[in-house]
């Protein structure tokens, strides 16, 4: 039997799955940011007319899925798997979204790395001929995350400059066996890295080693150099984490400074509230689905590496003195 693996961590697709369509919806703050015009829908409130933040997040996720389906000209009966994840306990935004569809559902959790984990799993299912079409979605909601991970939303406190602002956003991508659009060439599944950072207000420092490790492994496995990529999109190291990640790679002889961008930095204009940048499953999901997919479709890039990074902690673990384990998954995407 022939295996489609290269090196220790990378799956390479002979027949590359196609990212048939993508859709992104965001909250008001994200809509006012530098990428505002790129998104399919910008909500005027963070509650979306729902009774709670959690319900609002689930609705956002549903609308991203509906939009992605409509753009691909597909119906829910065409989709073989629905893969989704979010930040809330027991990934409820995804589960309550999934109950609205008659599609087999795989719930995943990778914190902010959820989107690339999902695209990776979706691509494996499609490339393995277990599915014709898979829809991958992920979301986060600032207020819902805030009340779960930090403080009540109306509590007045100052954020440290290393803190990151959880994005109110959702993105969805349809992965298909055929069609027009960017193609997934390879997937590198990351290993959990923990360098002992235990400060949940400094996730950039915690996640940077995971990012550097996965990028390094991907390049090793594929026997490539950074120059082979037009863009390395991380999500969401933030401003400080990006510098750390680049330096960690430079220490290994890999220079990505010219081609590296971070979804958390791209999503917002700098402000003390936003701190080091955006974060949350919805951040990189919306930046990729809203902006990058289009640019790949229009062939502005030949090949990009999407590296979403996730901090896999919980408030309970941090309060018990645990450090923050982090993971990053890389997806190499080529324009058609």
């Amino acid at each position: 039997m022939k295996f489609h693996r290269r090196g220790k961590s990378t799956c390479v697709f002979e027949q590359m799955p196609v990212l048939v369509s993508a859709a992104a919806v965001v909250g008001p703050r994200e809509g006012k940011g530098p990428l505002g015009a790129e998104f399919d829908m910008v909500y005027s409130t963070t509650l979306l007319g729902e009774a709670s933040w959690e319900k609002a997040e689930s609705k956002m996720l549903r609308q991203a899925v509906d939009l992605a389906l409509a753009k691909a000209n597909l119906d829910e009966s065409d989709i073989d798997f629905l893969i989704a994840g979010d930040l809330l306990n027991q990934i409820i935004s995804s589960a309550y979204m999934a109950r609205e569809y008659d599609i087999p559902f795989l719930g995943i959790y990778g914190a902010c790395a959820t989107m690339s984990e999902g695209i990776g799993i979706g691509s494996l299912l499609v490339a393995g001929r277990f599915a014709r079409y898979v829809i991958v979605a992920s979301s986060s909601h600032h207020d819902a995350a805030e009340r779960q991970f930090r403080y009540p939303t109306e509590f007045g406190h100052q954020r440290p400059p290393t803190g990151q602002w959880t994005a109110t956003a959702a993105g969805a991508v349809v992965v298909g066996v055929k069609g027009k659009g960017p193609r997934v060439e390879a997937v590198t599944i990351g290993r959990v890295q923990d360098l002992g950072v235990s400060e949940p207000n400094d996730m950039g420092s915690a996640m940077a080693p995971g990012f550097a490790d996965t990028v390094w492994r991907h390049l090793q496995d594929m026997a490539r150099k950074p120059e082979d990529y037009d863009l390395v999109l991380s999500g969401d190291l933030g401003r400080i984490g990006s510098l750390i990640g680049r330096q960690l790679l430079r220490n290994k002889g890999i220079v990505i400074d010219e081609i590296h961008q971070d979804a958390g930095v791209m999503l917002y204009d700098p402000s003390p509230e936003v701190g080091a940048g955006g974060s949350g499953c919805g951040c990189v999901a919306s930046v990729f689905s809203g902006k990058l997919w289009k640019e790949l479709y229009n062939r502005q890039y030949r090949r990009i590496l999407l590296v979403a990074t996730g901090a896999l902690h919980s408030p309970t673990a941090c309060q018990q003195g645990e450090s923050i384990p982090c993971v990053a998954h890389a997806v190499s995407i080529v324009s058609e």
Binding site: R147, T153, G156, Q158, P161, T162, L195, A276
Partner: protein, 149 residues
Amino acid sequence: MTKANIREQEAYSAFLEDFRPKRATLRNIVVAFFVGGLICTVGQGVLTYIMTRGIPLKQAYVLTSSIMVFAGAFLTGLGVYDKIGSFAGMGAALPITGFANSVVSPAMEFKREGFVLGVGAKMFQVAGPVIVYASLSATVVSILKLYVF
């Protein structure tokens, strides 16, 4: 082995030193001083006004605290106090208005889980430790005052 050992952790921690952003400590102190001072000045104004209406000092203290607590709670309800807090930090947290904010904000946040398991159970999520340790230290100081000094 992807969980680093102590040596690797220390090396990484030292490596991070170069990347630590400077905290705007001076700005934070100045802003906290003036905003906190402003809140206290308002409190003093309220106290002085009440006393001009012929209310004795002891009752006027209690009344002033109640009015300031109400003001903090009201501004929290309007969605303003969190913005003052994010601007002024400790300057907004330390006065009694900040205490009101720390009680009212979870009450508002968790109302969606109902009045018993939401508001009732979570109301002191932020202020709880303050109340517990304030009561404890008050007790200790009272005992010391009673038997030692």
